[in-house]
Every structure is written in structure tokens, then in C-alpha cells.
């Protein structure tokens, strides 16, 4: 099998412990569930001389009801989140997004912190050392060229987190801790539109907590497109959170798409098409029609980009219709969710 390189493993017992290790050592990485980092290190496209494990940090585990909000520790497993009655009752779209991640065994290991910080993905990058050597590497790791778009000055690796768009749409925040102190930022501010420098989190900062608002008036849903109904990363996710007034007029809209760019993309065009209009089939069809202006599927994951681009409209329409309580007549729910 592929083998891990040698490195120093620090098993932190507390957040302070971990923060100190990250401050004192250079060339560090944090490991939570290990479902992303270990395969990446075996393939040698993520490297570290010191890996700080949060596995023993008990304070980072669990879903807490703090009255106005839900606080989810970064080390809470994905299984524990989608099995949480609280999350399911307050934010069912988040529960659905988390349940759609990979497969049950991976969700038993994978954590919410890890999923939010998931390395961006690309079929020219998620390959072993020898394979990448055969293409003379790529811009994201050791190379010069982005093989997805060879004349591009930037890397187009894809944000593949399913929880991120769902949590961005409902206004979740994340708390980051380092030896310099802590800060809490809206989740969308955690991300940069860049396949390489995709996180605003500094390497010495630890994402310790996700702060999730309780259900407000917003209507939400989550739709995911992928080849198979389990295991696969998304090639498209759509997560709307729509607020309407008493006359069913849209007063607020937050819609995010995943897997069609290097970060969770806010779908401004669709939001504009909804605002001030009745949340009905006609408005939704228009909002869906313009959605693809905000996403850029490229040839660096499964399926051809042209079809994925076409699916943005279909999936946006389905997700918005479901949020609006309209009938959705598609095979896709059975196709897309491991429910």
C-alpha cells in the first residue's frame, strides 16, 4: 500500500496544548479525523514535519444548545452531527448536508472542523507522487502550470466541503484560537477564492467551534450532485436559505453553491432574482436560470463541465422549490443523498 512519510506526531490534550505546539514548531499541520490529511500525506501532496493531533482534546467534542445558538465543537464527528436531534430539528438542511458526506465509515472518523478546512481538490492534484511527477506536477504543488486551465495565473482546485455551503447559507460563524488569542468570523470569511490559498485561517490557528444559529424564519434545503449516492465528493451542491414575509415575498436570500469553484460561492444573481418577488414557481425558475453565471465548473472533477454547468439550473430550481414547499419531481434526491 501507499506509505506515510515519517513525521513528528504531537498528541495535544487541550486546545492550549495544541496552540502551543503549533506556535513552537514550524511546518505544522493539524489532524482531526485524518480522513483527508492521511491520504494526502500518503500521496505526498500535503507534507508536514510536525502533525498536531486534536483526537484527545475532549473539550472540542459535542453539540451544545446555548439557548440562542447551537455550538458544535470542531472535533465532533459528522455522524454525531447528523444524528443530533437538535441539529436535525433546528437546521435540517445542515443535517442533510453532513449526512451526504462520503460514507458512514468516513463520517464516523471525519469531523466538522476537518470538513470545513478540507483541502481543495483536483484530478491533477489528488494523485500519488509518481503520477504527479509524470505531468511535471501542477501549480498547487511543486509545479508551474494549472493543467485545468494552462494559461491561468491561478489554481482552480475545487472546494469540496458539503457542510460549508449549508453552514454559510444559514449564517454560521467559526471561532479560531491561537496563542495570540481568538477571533470569531462569519464562515464565508474563512474562505478565499483560490485553490492554493483557500483558507483565511493562519497555520497556527485552530478552528475550535462552529456557531450555528437556531432556526429562524428562513426556508432552507440542500441538494447535491455526484456520480453515486454514497462515497463520492460532490460535483455540485446548492444550499439556499430564503426569508419571506407574510405575503410570501422574498425579503432575504442567502444562497451558496459548492464544488463549482475554489470556495463556497455566493449566488448573487439568483438572490437578486428572488428579492422582492413572490417565492413561487415562476420566480424560482428565473432565479435558477441565472444561477450559472456565478459558478465555473471546470474539467477537474467527475463529469464533463458542460453538463455540470447545465445542472446548476436544475439543482438550483429543485433546491429552491423544496425550500418553498413546492413539489419536486426528480430522481436526484434518491440519486444524491445517502439518506
Amino acid at each position: 500500500m501507499l506509505r506515510l512519510p515519517s513525521f513528528q506526531l504531537v498528541r495535544a490534550e487541550s486546545v492550549d496544548d495544541a496552540a502551543r505546539a503549533l506556535a513552537n514548531e514550524s511546518d505544522t499541520r493539524i489532524v482531526a479525523g485524518g480522513t483527508d490529511l492521511w491520504p494526502n500525506m500518503k500521496r505526498r501532496h500535503q507534507k508536514a514535519s510536525t502533525v498536531v493531533s486534536l483526537a484527545n482534546v475532549a473539550e472540542l467534542r459535542g453539540v451544545k444548545d446555548t439557548g440562542g445558538e447551537i455550538r458544535i465543537g470542531a472535533m465532533t464527528t459528522l455522524t454525531d452531527i447528523h444524528d443530533s436531534e437538535l441539529v436535525l430539528a433546528e437546521q435540517p438542511a445542515v443535517a442533510r448536508a453532513v449526512r451526504s458526506i462520503s460514507s458512514p465509515v468516513l463520517r464516523n472518523m471525519g469531523t466538522i472542523g476537518g470538513n470545513l478546512c478540507l483541502d481543495t481538490r483536483c484530478t491533477y492534484y489528488n494523485q500519488n507522487e509518481e503520477w504527479r511527477q509524470s505531468i511535471n506536477y501542477c501549480m498547487k504543488e511543486q509545479g508551474e502550470t494549472c493543467w485545468v486551465a494552462p494559461n491561468s495565473p491561478r489554481c482552480w482546485a475545487i472546494s469540496a466541503s458539503d457542510s460549508a455551503p449549508a453552514l454559510c447559507a444559514i449564517g454560521a460563524r467559526v471561532r479560531l484560537v491561537s496563542t495570540d488569542g481568538e477571533r470569531t468570523i462569519p464562515l464565508p470569511e474563512l474562505y478565499h477564492d483560490d485553490g492554493i490559498d483557500y483558507l483565511a485561517k493562519r497555520p497556527d490557528e485552530i478552528l475550535v467551534e462552529v456557531i450555528v444559529p437556531k432556526a429562524g424564519v428562513a426556508k432552507t434545503s440542500f441538494w447535491k450532485l455526484r456520480r453515486r449516492a454514497s462515497i463520492d465528493f460532490a460535483v455540485l451542491t446548492v444550499a439556499p436559505a430564503i426569508t419571506v414575509d407574510a405575503s410570501n415575498t422574498v425579503t432575504d436570500a442567502h444562497i451558496y453553491m459548492g464544488a463549482v469553484g475554489s470556495f463556497p460561492i455566493r449566488v448573487h444573481e439568483s438572490e437578486k432574482a428572488l428579492l422582492g418577488k413572490p417565492f413561487d414557481a415562476e420566480t424560482i425558475a428565473e432565479a435558477a436560470r441565472v444561477a450559472r453565471k456565478d459558478g465555473t465548473p471546470l474539467n477537474n472533477t467527475d463529469f464533463i463541465p458542460q453538463w455540470r454547468s447545465r445542472m446548476i439550473e436544475r439543482y438550483m430550481e429543485a433546491a429552491l422549490r423544496e425550500a418553498a414547499g413546492l413539489e419536486v419531481d426528480r430522481l436526484a434526491p434518491r440519486h444524491g443523498f445517502g439518506e
Binding site: 500500500m1 489528488n126 500519488n128 511535471n136 453515486r228 453538463w307
Partner: protein, 860 residues
């Protein structure tokens, strides 16, 4: 659970002890008696089942010996290049490193076919694809071997990258190999059976279709692994996950330059093979060589990426089918052209090439038939045999072609098939001898089960049914290398303990071959499976069996086992008869006893009977062997296609398609398979369902495809996704409910009438899915895999008033040479070509005289 249907008369066990021939069926030697069977035909637990589910089975990677060291292969990172230099200096200084091998250490070539000895254990002079092994590194631990492998430096001088059949045909130089029919075309075939023009002239309608079947790979859960060690006096032993220990044995002898008698190959149970472990492999030979060099056990376990590079999977094939039809759907002639992308080495490719044409004739009557084919070398991992070997591609082309023809002619797709069936006991246009054929019963079973007559063409938009059929070999009629020896041998040892030891070279790859072997012996000796000790797949201890490929094991090993067991029974019966004072022919063996069928009070236990035989005859042992019957074809190429018997399958698939996205789901599969006679219905069902699963993967998503980087910037040609995550294969969610029908039409050549089931039921799946999509939404996707984007594109084309079809439009104008002309039996032909001398004669495949002699001695 599926249902079992037995449309024909029961086909019970032959009873060789009773000499009386059964009425009117003197040729049915194995289906001759009315004595009920004890074991055969009833579901029983597989003999290796408990060990597998409790983790006791030792796969190759589970083995470890004292002082074992680990080996890694440094593989080419360029698709096509000369090796300029190899520098192991830095790697040699890495911790734990013990030694290296390069191509210079093993100059002899090897390969599975005698005509394609084109592989080196490690590349000599040049590399031919990304993944071609160049250097072997051994170290104390696997980690150390891996780190050292990454430090080996190989300098290359790039050659032109050949990425496709078209490019290979138009780029004769540089040649990937310095042999083959021409330039980078490895093999050209053209053969015409009967007066094709006359056949087409008789037709009322002539239809032509072009179809593409993408390559895909086996995806066994077990990655290949081997461990080799030396013993005194220059002997070497290798345990390996191989389907063909005998062929590995031969290749080792050739490359290591050791007498075969000093090499021992033991095939471990395979964690899935599907054809992907049928070639002798570089890593196996390197492990043996490294063990000889270091004098320590050497182990190598491939990574998943390396398994994708070993490949030998389904060839990508472009096909053109042209068929003449009468108004009533009868076919008058067919002309099939195929073009195979072979990858970088020969492997089984010459056979694969012939197989893309050979079995088109055994399902529906084709009075005149022409077949042209080419196989090209390209800079990709070599293609070879995957479940169905070369036949699923043309079968998919034929069955979709037939579905279209049925629609054009206004005939139900089930009827057009039923009306064209090949008659039993007949000879096809290309001289294949068809014995039993249960295809009609298969079609009737799935038509009835699926409610076809009531539902086909009448389901709501988006729902559809599709029907398709298939056929496969029960072992190839000829061995891979010319010889007159048995294809399968079994030895039985019995002694006073009452235990029966059965020795056979057969290899358990998960298909249940151990259980078949044990069951055949247990049935005839009237004992339990638990009383049988198997010793299999060990070239030192077991008689040769050619291996687990071409669905040959049940029929060939089964027949050899039956013969050995009957001989044992005869010996025991002689001794027991003497003791009981009963003529041996009146003795029956059942429930651990030997008794007089006319007076069952006169009996003794099986153990006592064996003791009587050991006392009378001395140490007891018998052998059995099997050689297939001779086939009637006498033309060049007639060696590919003949089989002692053909299995048949028919499937109906139900799909639901979302016309907004093209996403579709297979809702149900009805699969009927003519297995001749079930040895074990539980295993037969397992094989049917496994074939449905694998065929569904090929239909829906599996593809072994490559990325060519922009030519101005790079020569790279890499496997697009050598990983289990990105090479898409169905999960539980995609697997539909399956209703299986076991059709039993016993074949006189099969043990107890049994035929194969390991590969056949895969064949109908891809075309049945395609035909169902057509019934659901009225569009044709003439290629596999069928992605939702293809379905949507076809729907959009149709909506714009264009042809509702996605697929290749053109078959390139390849030169196949002058066709070999073989008159059919109906035309008075004798199986020989009329223009043997003038038709493009090519080197390397043996003279007609060799072939005639070999064929002539077969079955004697």
C-alpha cells in the same frame, strides 16, 4: 431469492458403474442415469466459505516468513521513451536498502501468448507507458523500500506519444514494439464465411450501426501480492495472487533461466480476479529474482495505483455492424468490423482481437458472416481479458443493433431474437459447434418475469424496459500454447482413514472452483464434502490445470474430477463387491456407504470399502484428465471461439430516466442463465448477481480512461484516475434488485451436464440498459458507459429535430487485408479456407499443419 426453472428433462448423474447405456442418448455420457443426485444441484455451503468469513483464509498479502524483506517497483513516469540512464546511488544509501534489479538482470522476454513474448520483467532499453516498471528495490521494511524507490533517478529520451488507435494507424514510426503486423498495428484479421454478397442480396433491409465500448478494468478488492523465497540447491518458491499458476510457472522458468522443476508456484486464493490476474506479471518475476539474489524471502504488495497499471482489462473497441434482414426479422448476412486499443503490450490481445468477432454467431443464426479487426499498440497500460474477454463489446453492439432493427421492422425485440435462434447441435458459419442451447428458455423466462408482453413500450414516459442476450464459452477449445496434453488433471489419493485427498492445479478466485471440484468427487464416491481434503494450485504437488480463465474450470476440472472419482469408485467397488459377494456393477455409493442396489442390507461403510481396496490393490490413487473435443474449423484463426459448450443468458432491465437531467436509475434486473446443470444453485445465483453488478458498472460508469496533456507543453499520457474513489464503480445504492432464473439444458460435454456461469451473465447487461433507456425516453446512446450527460445530450438533440442519438458516427477506413475465404457448411465447405495462401499470411501463429495436428489430437 430467484427462482429455478427446469424446462428440460432432469439430467441426473451418470453412473459409470452401471454399464447399461441410457435410452436414445448414447452421446450424453455424463447425463446418463436416472439415479438421484445426493449433492449436485442442491445448494450447499462452499467449502472455503467459513474460512473466508472468519478471516482464516490466507491471501498472498497475509503471508509472512522469517527474515522477509520488502520490494517496490520504480515505474516509468513517461509514456514512451528510451531509457538513457538509471542512477541508484542516492537510493542505495537510504536506510534499510538491500538491493536493486534492473532490466539487465532479466534479459529474456515473456508474455502469456507464445506469439506475444513482448514483456520484460523490468524494462530493457525503453519504456512504453506511465507505470511500466524499470527498477526493483528491496529493503528491510516496506516504508524503506518506498522511500528508496522515490530516490531512484531514471533519465529518459522521450519518443512520440501514441494515444489512440487512430494515431497508431497513422503513426507507423516510432514503433512501440519491433514486431506485429505493421507499424503500430499489432494484429490485423479479416475472415469471410460464406458468400457475403449473396447474403446481403437476399436481404429486404440492410442496417448499419456504429458503437463504442470504452475500456474498463477488473477492480478486484485484493491488490496483487506475491512472496518468494529460495530453498536449498537453487530452488525458488513463490506464493502469488494469480489465476494462472501454470503459466506463471512457465514464464518464471523462461526469465529466470531455471528448469521448471526447480520452481514452485502456489496460487493463493484470489480476492477477486475477473481476468486481471491471468497474465504472468513483472512483480511476480522480480520477487522470485530478488529472492534468488538476496537469499531471503521477498514480498511485494501492489498499491491500488499499480493495479490500475497492471490492468489487462476490457479493450476499448469501436465497432461497425452491418446486417441484412428479411422482413420477418431473419438475418441473411452480417459484416462486423472492430478496432481495439490494445495498450502497450500484447498480453492476450491476439486472442481478444479474434474474440471480438468469434462468438457473434452462436446466439442467432447468421448464414453468412464476415469479420474484420485490428488491434493497435498505444502508450497505455496493456488491455487483456476481463470477464467476457473480448465478447461483451461486440455483444453490446449486436444487441443494440438488433433492438433498432426490431423497431425498424416492427417486430417485438423478444420475438426477433426468438425467431433467429441457433438450433441445438449445429455448426455456425464460422465453424463453431453449438451443442445445447437454452437461450429460448432464457428469453421466455425473463419476458414472463418482467411482464414484458404487457409492459414493453407501454410504460409512462421516463420508464422503460430493455432486453438483451449473450453467450459465452465453457473453456477455450485449445490451450494457450500448442501441446497435446490435458487441459486439466486431477489426482485422488485414498487410504484406510477413509479420507479422500484431491489434487488439482485449479485456482480458487472466489468463483467457487474448490467447491465444484470437491462436489464432483463427493457425489461420485457418496461421501460428504467434509471428508475431502483439497490440495490445489501448487505446481509441485498438483497435476496441471491451465488456470481460472475462459470459464473453463467447472467443465474441464469437473470432467477430470469425475473421471478420477469414477476410477476410484471402480477400484473400491471391485474390492467391496468381492467382500459383499455382489457384482461391482450392482454397487451404489451413497451416504458414506457402499451397498447392493438390489438388497441394501448387503452393504459396508465407505471406510471399510476403501480398506478392502487398499488390502486388495495396495496403495490407492487414481487420476483423471480432460481434453476438449475437436472443433470443425480448419482455417487460420479457427483456434479462437471453439468450446466444448456455450452458456446462454437473457436479461430484461427496467430503468427510470429523469428527462430534465438525464440521470437514470436501474430499478430491476431479470436475468436468466442457461447453466446446463447446476452443480450448486447458491453459487450459480451468486455468479449471476455478481455478473449483473459488474455489467451494470460497465453500462453506467466504469471507464479506464487517460489524460493527454496539451501537446505543446507535455508528452504526458496518464491514467485519469487510478484510484478506487475516482474510478467509479456502483455502490449498494446503485445495485437494483435482481431476479435470477437458472435454466438447465444439460450439455453432454459438461460434468453432470454443467456449463459455465462465471462470465456469461455479464454480457446482456450493457445493451439491456441501453435498450431500456430507449424504451423510457426514445433516445439511443450508442456507447458505454452511458452517463447522464449522454442521455441529456441525446434528448436535446432529439428536441431540436435531430437524430436522438449520441455515439460515434464514423468507423475509420482501416486496411484489414485480403479476407480469408471460408465456405460455410451449407455451401459445402469443409472448414478450410479456399485462399489460405493468398490471404494475408502473417508470421508467428503456427502453421496450419501444427494447428491441424493439435486440433486433431484434441479429444482423443
Amino acid at each position: 431469492m430467484g427462482k429455478t426453472k427446469t424446462p428440460k428433462a432432469e439430467a441426473p448423474l451418470s453412473d459409470a458403474a452401471s454399464e447399461a447405456p441410457s435410452e436414445g442418448s448414447t452421446d450424453k455420457k455424463n447425463v446418463a442415469s436416472d439415479r438421484p443426485l445426493n449433492l449436485i444441484g442442491k445448494p450447499f455451503r462452499r467449502v472455503d466459505g467459513r474460512a473466508k468469513v472468519t478471516g482464516q483464509t490466507k491471501f498472498a498479502d497475509d503471508l509472512h516468513f522469517p527474515r522477509t524483506v520488502h520490494m517496490k517497483l520504480v515505474r516509468s513516469t513517461v509514456p514512451h521513451a528510451e531509457i538513457v540512464s538509471i542512477d541508484t546511488t542516492e537510493a542505495a544509501g537510504m536506510p534499510g536498502v538491500l538491493g536493486f534489479l534492473t532490466g539487465d538482470d532479466m534479459p529474456n522476454t515473456f508474455g502469456i501468448l507464445p506469439v506475444s513474448q513482448d514483456e520484460h520483467a523490468l524494462c530493457v532499453g525503453k519504456v512504453r507507458f506511465v507505470g511500466d516498471p524499470v527498477v526493483a528495490v528491496a529493503a528491510l521494511t516496506e516504508d524503506q523500500a518506498h522511500e528508496a524507490a522515490l530516490k531512484v533517478k531514471v533519465e529518459y529520451n522521450d519518443l512520440t506519444t501514441i494515444a489512440s488507435v487512430e494515431q497508431a494507424a497513422s503513426t507507423p514510426e516510432p514503433r512501440i514494439h519491433d514486431y506485429g503486423d505493421t507499424g503500430n498495428i499489432h494484429k490485423q484479421v479479416s475472415m469471410s464465411f460464406g458468400d457475403l454478397d449473396a447474403g446481403f442480396a437476399e436481404a429486404d433491409e440492410i442496417f448499419e450501426d456504429i458503437y463504442y465500448f470504452e475500456g474498463n478494468t477488473h477492480l478486484p478488492m485484493e491488490q496483487h501480492a506475491s512472496i518468494a523465497f529460495t530453498e536449498d540447491d537453487g530452488r525458488v518458491t513463490i506464493y502469488s495472487s494469480t489465476q494462472t499458476p501454470h503459466y506463471l510457472h512457465r514464464s518464471l522458468a523462461k526469465v529466470l533461466e531455471l528448469p521448471a522443476s526447480r520452481i514452485r508456484v502456489i496460487a493463493c486464493p484470489n480476492g477477486g480476479g475477473f481476468g486481471g490476474k491471468s497474465d504472468p506479471f513483472n512483480h511476480e518475476i522480480c520477487a522470485a529474482k530478488m529472492a534468488l539474489k538476496l537469499g531471503r524471502p521477498v514480498k511485494i504488495a501492489l498499491t491500488r495505483e499499480e493495479v490500475f497499471y497492471c490492468h489487462r482489462g476490457r479493450h476499448p473497441v469501436l465497432m461497425k455492424t452491418r446486417t441484412g434482414f428479411k422482413k420477418d426479422g431473419r438475418m441473411t448476412a452480417q459484416h462486423l468490423q472492430t478496432a481495439l486499443d490494445g495498450g502497450a503490450y500484447g498480453s492476450y490481445g491476439v486472442a481478444s482481437t479474434y474474440y471480438t468477432g468469434a462468438l457473434q454467431t452462436v446466439t442467432y443464426d447468421l448464414p453468412k458472416y464476415r469479420f474484420d479487426s485490428i488491434r493497435a499498440f498505444t502508450n497505455k497500460p496493456p488491455c487483456g481479458p476481463k470477464r467476457g474477454h473480448g465478447t461483451p463489446q461486440p455483444r453490446a453492439a449486436f444487441e443494440t443493433h438488433l433492438d433498432k432493427a426490431a423497431h425498424r421492422l416492427g417486430i417485438d425485440p423478444a420475438d426477433i431474437r426468438l425467431n433467429n435462434l441457433v438450433p441445438p447441435d449445429s455448426v455456425t458459419a464460422n465453424y463453431l459447434k453449438v451443442g445445447s442451447i437454452g437461450l429460448g428458455d432464457c428469453i421466455e423466462a425473463v419476458v414472463k418475469g418482467s411482464g414484458w408482453r404487457e409492459r414493453y413500450g407501454k410504460l409512462p414516459e421516463g420508464r422503460g424496459l430493455g432486453l438483451a442476450c449473450g453467450s459465452y464459452l465453457c473453456g477455450a477449445g485449445l490451450p494457450i500454447y500448442w501441446n497435446f496434453m490435458p487441459q486439466s488433471g486431477v489426482q485422488i489419493k485414498l487410504d484406510r482413514s477413509g479420507g479422500v485427498a484431491v489434487f488439482c492445479g485449479e485456482t480458487e478466485i472466489g468463483q467457487g472452483s474448490d467447491s465444484v471440484l470437491a462436489a464432483c468427487v463427493a457425489e461420485i464416491l457418496g461421501i460428504d464434502l467434509q471428508d475431502i481434503r483439497l490440495c490445489v494450485a501448487d505446481t509441485d504437488l498438483t497435476p496441471v490445470d491451465l488456470g481460472s480463465y475462459s470459464s473453463r474450470v467447472t467443465l474441464m476440472v469437473g470432467n477430470a474430477a469425475v473421471q478420477a472419482a469414477e476410477r476410484a469408485r471402480e477400484i473400491i467397488a471391485k474390492a467391496a463387491g468381492e467382500k459383499l459377494d455382489v457384482p461391482p456393477s450392482r454397487l451404489a455409493f451413497s451416504e458414506h456407504r457402499v451397498f447392493d442396489i438390489e438388497d441394501d442390507e448387503r452393504s459396508m461403510s465407505f471406510v471399510e470399502a476403501v480398506q478392502a481396496a487398499e488390502a486388495k490393490f495396495g496403495t490407492l490413487g487414481t487420476t483423471g484428465s480432460y481434453i476438449p473435443p475437436r472443433s470443425p474449423g480448419r482455417y487460420r484463426g479457427a483456434g479462437v471461439g471453439p468450446s466444448p459448450a456455450y452458456s446462454y443468458s437473457a436479461a430484461v432491465v427496467e430503468v427510470e430516466v429523469d428527462p430534465q437531467t438525464g440521470i437514470y436509475q436501474v430499478e430491476h434486473v431479470w436475468m436468466a442463465h442457461d447453466v446446463g446443470k447446476c452443480i450448486n444453485p447458491a453459487l450459480v445465483m451468486g455468479q449471476i448477481e455478481g455478473s449483473v453488478y459488474m455489467g451494470l458498472g460497465e453500462a453506467m460508469m466504469e471507464e479506464q480512461v487517460f489524460r493527454r496533456l496539451p501537446k505543446k507543453r507535455s508528452n504526458a499520457l496518464v491514467h485519469k484516475h487510478p484510484s478506487l474513489l475516482e474510478y467509479k464503480s456502483p455502490t449498494f445504492h446503485e445495485m437494483p434488485p435482481v431476479t435470477s432464473y437458472i435454466i438447465e439444458d444439460p450439455d453432454p460435454n459438461g460434468p453432470f451436464g454443467a456449463k459455465e456461469v462465471g462470465q456469461g451473465p455479464l454480457l446482456p447487461m450493457p445493451p439491456a440498459v441501453a435498450n431500456a433507456i430507449f424504451d423510457a425516453v426514445g433516445v439511443r446512446v450508442d456507447q458505454v458507459p452511458i452517463g447522464p450527460h449522454h442521455v441529456l445530450e441525446a434528448l436535446e438533440r432529439k428536441a431540436k429535430g435531430k437524430e436522438g442519438r449520441v455515439g460515434p458516427n464514423k468507423f475509420p477506413d482501416y486496411d484489414f487485408g485480403v479476407p480469408l475465404n471460408v465456405p460455410t457448411v451449407a455451401e459445402g465447405g469443409d472448414g478450410k479456407a479456399t485462399n489460405q495462401e493468398t490471404a494475408g499470411v502473417r508470421k508467428g501463429i503456427g502453421t496450419m499443419k501444427d494447428r491441424e495436428e493439435a486440433v486433431g489430437k484434441g479429444g482423443q
